[in-house]
Symmetry: C2
């Protein structure tokens, strides 16, 4: 019945350190540079652990997120986002000043133009990666020919260097795309030094992707129900548990916890991988069938023992990155003993 | 192309004031007391507008949320949540001190015991409502007989007053339940002074619920795609729009905006009410088919005009309460002119 007030995300630091070391060892073994995406933890203290272990820099999605990391003393950042609005010019210029080496990935002319203006204002050079489509159908140019046109625009823009390619998610398909692009680019004497790919679910197969130079996993530091389902981790490697309390047991077979969508998010995983909104470690047969903002409703009819009001449970979330975005603070533990309470400084940084 | 940096939630203050006035007029007309749920806006400044218009107090879900409102000078608060953990005793005691009139709704003995201990520590009396089940299958006692047992425990606890019943969502069913409970309670000489029901979708039918004394709508202040779908509002009454920017148009028929699940949440609405993760006002035929954390992918193949990179769009979210929880700041406008940028003080208050 004792422990920190709930609901609250709790990190097992030993697991975090093992996850960091394992990913670094894999990358070292295969000659890949590791550039973790910090969107999973949003904590400078853990980004610095990743760098100390051997990461060459970090990945951020948004300028405001990168600004937090830069302010904490991190000087090599890849921004994997199209920045296209004039309203972002001052913040981007400041970010260039705040870093030693900023790289931006983009897929269009407008973003090239804005990057060029920011670099000019900052009086500094920027490395640019061209993002390409590899199955997500989100952002990214479709063909090597489109990439070539964009690379030429980059090369024609003062203060910008074309450095290579970026994609998400990375898999065999992207290796083939880059091979074709390399053939095309070499005919135009444009060297490609970076091929950066993001994934946690497929990260342990990244060495099979032809030409990949840099890996950008995010979730691997904590793992979650989705990466376990994908076979990229075991349940024992999941380093973030949401601690919650049973607040109601209105009838046999139903229990309600104080973790709803404001705590766990509404993110689901594919039905073949698991039901509900997370895995309750103490009651693996329980299904979190419904979430309101502050309530999680559990079907515990398949459980031998029934949860009692006041009892604490730990939940492995479906998608851990969105969970950390919901919480202002996170607790660090070792062997169940609290080591500190950290503000999640880079949460809510959507701009 | 101009306007505040995106993504950002923007409030139309005129619409907010009309929504507040309309709900208050409805309640006044039907002799209902209005006790708005502040989870929708999470802003003291708007809670005070609701009170000035005639609300008798506010509703909060969690102690930490209520503490923000109390600190802003609001002294009549209903907490509609089972508080069962000893770890919450200090915060609950403080909240009793910080308010003139605190009421707690609960459905079990453990919560009664904790409320009694907090009231004792605070040296004050607390009003208690018994929550009952009315179709949500979340929290709440099932039968009037169970409510009677719990009411007797409340009456036997020093410093606690039994004041009546609470349910969510309120509808005709709950009126019938309360009628049966009143018969039972009158045989035991236990008066029922409060019957508090929560709903926005069914709020305009609340006067048909037998015995209802108090209405606790939340979403009505902003409305969203779900309450419009339910027939409780028109699209013109939706007061919160998420402003976003088109950041990529990789191929005809696909556009990507800078609002993903960190901005809009992953909440869906029933398929019969609408597809995707929100309604794009400038492109009503567009479907927001997929959300990543920072990207929203739009299928714009049915749109006559295609969105351009850098273009701003406004989105009516599926579920507005979870959107406000994601943002540290919110912009107020009148006639499209910014009136202020407000910190969302009660966001992230899950404990």
């Amino acid at each position: 019945m004792s422990g920190p007030d709930t609901p609250v995300p709790v990190i097992d630091l030993d697991r975090v350190e093992r996850n960091i070391a394992k990913a670094q060892a894999y990358c070292d073994q295969h000659g890949l540079r590791l550039r973790p995406h910090i969107k999973t933890h949003k904590l400078p203290v853990l980004a610095h652990k990743q760098l100390t272990a051997g990461a060459i820099g970090i990945t951020c999605q948004k300028i405001s997120e990168a600004a937090v990391m830069a302010a904490s003393g991190i000087d090599d950042i890849l921004l994997t986002y199209n920045i296209v609005s004039d309203s972002k010019l001052p913040a981007l210029t400041q970010l260039i000043w705040a870093t030693e080496h900023l790289t931006i990935a983009l897929d269009n002319d407008v973003a090239v133009n804005l990057a060029g203006r920011a670099a000019l204002q900052a009086g500094r050079e920027l490395d640019i990666l061209v993002e390409f489509e590899s199955g997500k159908l989100r952002t990214g140019v479709l063909t090597p020919e489109q990439a070539l046109t964009l690379a030429k625009t980059i090369l024609a823009t003062k203060h910008l260097n074309f450095a290579g390619f970026m994609t998400y998610p990375v898999s065999q398909v992207s290796g083939d795309w880059v091979s074709r692009a390399k053939d095309l680019f070499s005919k135009h004497d444009i060297p490609i030094t970076v091929f950066s790919g993001g994934t946690t679910p497929l990260m342990w197969q990244a060495h099979e992707v032809a030409g990949l130079t840099e890996l950008r996993p995010g979730t691997y530091i904590y793992h979650d129900r989705a990466t376990v389902a994908a076979g990229a981790a075991t349940l024992d490697e999941c380093a973030l548990h949401v601690h919650a309390t049973v607040v109601s047991t209105p009838e046999p077979g139903r229990a309600v916890i104080d973790a709803g969508s404001k705590t766990l998010s509404s993110d689901r995983i594919s039905p073949e991988y698991g039901e509900g909104y997370g895995l309750v470690l103490e009651y693996p047969e329980a299904i979190i069938t419904n979430l309101s903002e502050e309530h999680g409703v559990l079907d515990v009819s398949a459980c031998q023992n029934q949860p009692k009001i006041g009892e604490r449970v730990r939940i492995v979330p479906n998608h851990v990155c969105v969970v950390t975005n919901l919480h202002d603070e996170i607790i660090f533990q070792r062997d169940g003993v609290v080591q500190g309470v950290y503000p999640v400084w880079a949460r809510g940084k959507t701009r």
